[in-house]
Symmetry: C2
Subunit: 425 residues, 2 copies
């Protein structure tokens, strides 16, 4: 089962010379098993090929952007068609207005939209809008929740300074008392409460939002005049054809979107309710490529597929099929495997596996069998996947669990994740 | 000369319903003459068409990104070709390494590259890298200089708070004494000095960098261990086939790039010297679309054109032709017109025109004659422009100056720019 990796190794060598650390950001394989490829060559539908020509069923979906399949012919055709007309030019096109109209028609709480490029742009704009609206400073967010990689929120502090995170208070996700305590600590200065639609922190079990927590967040914002922000960058369109907290009957004042709203083409968005409109109009935010027309054309085509297909029901059914099959096969091999999070955005963790050595062994074995899984970040299913793909993954899992069973007792510690068992996170 | 604008008006109405203020950011026409179109339909070469079908020679070039012509066939073909192979996927492609290799080969001071989406991403990463490298906090930048639109640097403060700009000191561009004073005030805490390659502030005359200022900035960084950052997002590739301050013989530690490096496709970059590599590898920055392959393919093709064509010499010659012709025709009509900045990125201001009423009248008349100019932001020439285009613009200018001459005495104040005469900026 030895996969070729010489081209990947050679590219890493070249990369080390001209890219700090060889690679950076969420797609660095620095904290993945050593046999994971860093560089890819091709993507189509639900599959990716690394630079050595190995093909994988991709359960990461580009960390979210791939919702309707890589190189989706309809969406990419819309992009290319618009590119020949206009893309980045001296002003926006009608597509910007149409996209704002369609998003506000689709997302219940939203009366307006602003477009940007990064998910972090959207969450940062939400922060600034809330402070402009309330003329207050303090925000509350959940400990360990990811809301982007700007100095105010990046998960690794190197190069950031104390003032970057001034006026921030932390609570524990789903813990109403800790939220109430943070609101009390904010005194009269609360500008916003940030909330992920579900708890999707790395390295630990995911958690569905407790409806009581979501309701209380809404109430506390209403009582204090602060804005409720649902950060749907990661989960948007994979939970609902609306803001993800619409499933709980909770409407935020602001929601942030990105990742898959144009199926991998670069665009993100801040949506807001009527209440926040004046504040949003008062802030100065912009970017060289924010008014690009081609990603907007792709987003419109993506939204058409969202409306007109059963993609959501299908990825949920595929997620259930994968979860049921994996947990069952793990049990048959004698392992406790926990699926947490929505099954279409699942995280799989083994019982009794503090430094993820079982997880690392398992995903490496899956990789060797043509299935790209992540050992500690939630994964993503897409509408290009089929039941056959899932069944092939389950067949691969039988082989992977068998190897794990054979090797479990002798697995070496995962040194690069030693910080997990040290409880340093 | 009445241009149709009913479709633009109708779109603005629709936009007001679903976009805060109807439009935001640098491409809002809020501070332009009332007859300027907000929405466009098409772009090709050096020309743009508004939604009402009016065609303009576009002297804004998308505020910079258009360097080799809109819808450049070679660059867009590279984009589309790559799109069919892979774009946003679960990791980078070889193109990322190649692009880093080519940029570091081209830019003298650079040993490494990191890619991102917005110019603001690059400047923010430079800030964080400098603080990580020095383990200090204070940065110095020039009063009124634009380095992006994040809370630490956005030119309009709504929604930002005092701590967003903590540990920043200001100097006056080209004023060595004010720079030395700021360095002295920083005490032992200086992390970085930011510098625009030339003074390209809005609303006022641009200025070439004083070599003594650039040299002193370099010396002060060397003496204190701080990093020198040249923000080449706006001017990069339009001054030199290298960092713009290479023209002065000054090598920064970090330089930021964006706008035109992929001719309008969305990518920006931070380049750095060997000294800053370890710090750059230590920071956590990322974005959903930062490792997109298609914009990297477009950037590689753009760099090929940068290397293999005389685009730079041509846009400089065209800039000189435009400047000479405009200033001469203005004088013939009895007006003092100042061209400041490099002629390929010029700003034109009239003498004795504190609220820009002459400027507004003139650019409106140019617009009516099919030439899109900006009254208070530097403009951009591109390699798709020809001497014939410039000559047509000069012919239009004769008509525009004639109207201005007739109407100058009776021009109404420009109320939307009243803040300029009030000296509030």
């Amino acid at each position: 089962m030895d996969r070729a990796n010489s081209l990947d190794r050679a590219l890493r060598e070249r990369a080390r010379a001209v890219i700090p650390g060889g690679m950076y950001g969420h797609q660095s394989v620095g904290l993945l098993p050593d046999d994971y490829p860093q560089f890819f060559a091709k993507a189509e539908g639900a599959h990716i090929w690394d630079v050595d020509g190995n093909r994988y069923l991709d359960l990461m979906c580009a960390y979210g952007p791939n919702l309707f399949g890589y190189a989706n012919p309809e969406i990419d055709a819309a992009y290319v068609r618009q590119l020949s007309l206009s893309d980045t030019l001296t002003g926006p096109t009608e597509l910007m207005v149409r996209l704002a109209e369609e998003l506000t028609a689709m997302v219940t709480h939203a009366a307006w939209a602003m477009f940007c490029k990064n998910g972090t742009d959207a969450t940062s704009m939400a922060l600034v809008t809330a402070r402009a609206h309330t003329r207050r400073k303090t925000i509350i967010r959940a400990r360990g929740a990811y809301h982007g990689a700007a100095p105010w929120c990046t998960p690794r502090p190197a190069g950031t300074i104390d003032t970057d995170r001034a006026h921030q208070l932390f609570c524990d996700y789903n813990d109403v008392a800790s939220l109430e305590d943070a609101v009390a600590r904010a005194g009269g200065d609360l500008a916003a409460i940030f909330a992920a639609p579900f708890k999707h922190d790395a390295f630990i079990d995911q958690a569905a939002p407790d409806p009581a927590y979501a309701r209380r967040a809404r109430e506390l914002c209403d009582q204090t005049g602060a804005l409720l922000i649902v950060d749907d960058v990661r989960a948007g369109l994979r939970m609902a054809r609306d803001c993800s907290w619409s499933l709980l009957g909770i409407e935020p004042d602001l929601s942030t979107w990105g990742k898959c709203i144009a199926n991998g083409h670069p665009i993100s968005a801040l949506l807001g309710s009527e209440k926040a409109r004046t504040a949003a109009a008062s802030i100065y935010v912009t970017g060289s490529f924010w008014f690009q027309a081609a990603p907007m054309a792709a987003a419109l085509e993506t939204l058409r597929l969202v409306r007109d297909t059963d993609y959501l029901e299908r990825i949920m059914a595929l997620g259930d099929r994968l979860a049921g099959g994996l947990v069952e096969r793990a049990a048959a091999a004698g392992f406790g495997l926990r699926c947490s999070g929505p099954t279409q955005m699942p995280l799989y963790l083994f019982d009794d596996d503090p430094d993820l050595r079982k997880g690392f062994c398992f995903v490496s074995q899956m990789l060797a069998r043509g299935v790209y899984m992540h050992p500690w970040h939630n994964m993503f299913l897409c509408a290009a996947m089929t039941a056959t793909d899932i069944d092939q993954a389950l067949e691969a899992a039988e082989g992977a669990f068998a190897v794990l069973k054979r090797e479990a007792a002798g697995l070496a510690p995962v040194e690069k994740l030693a910080f997990l068992s040290a409880g340093q996170r």
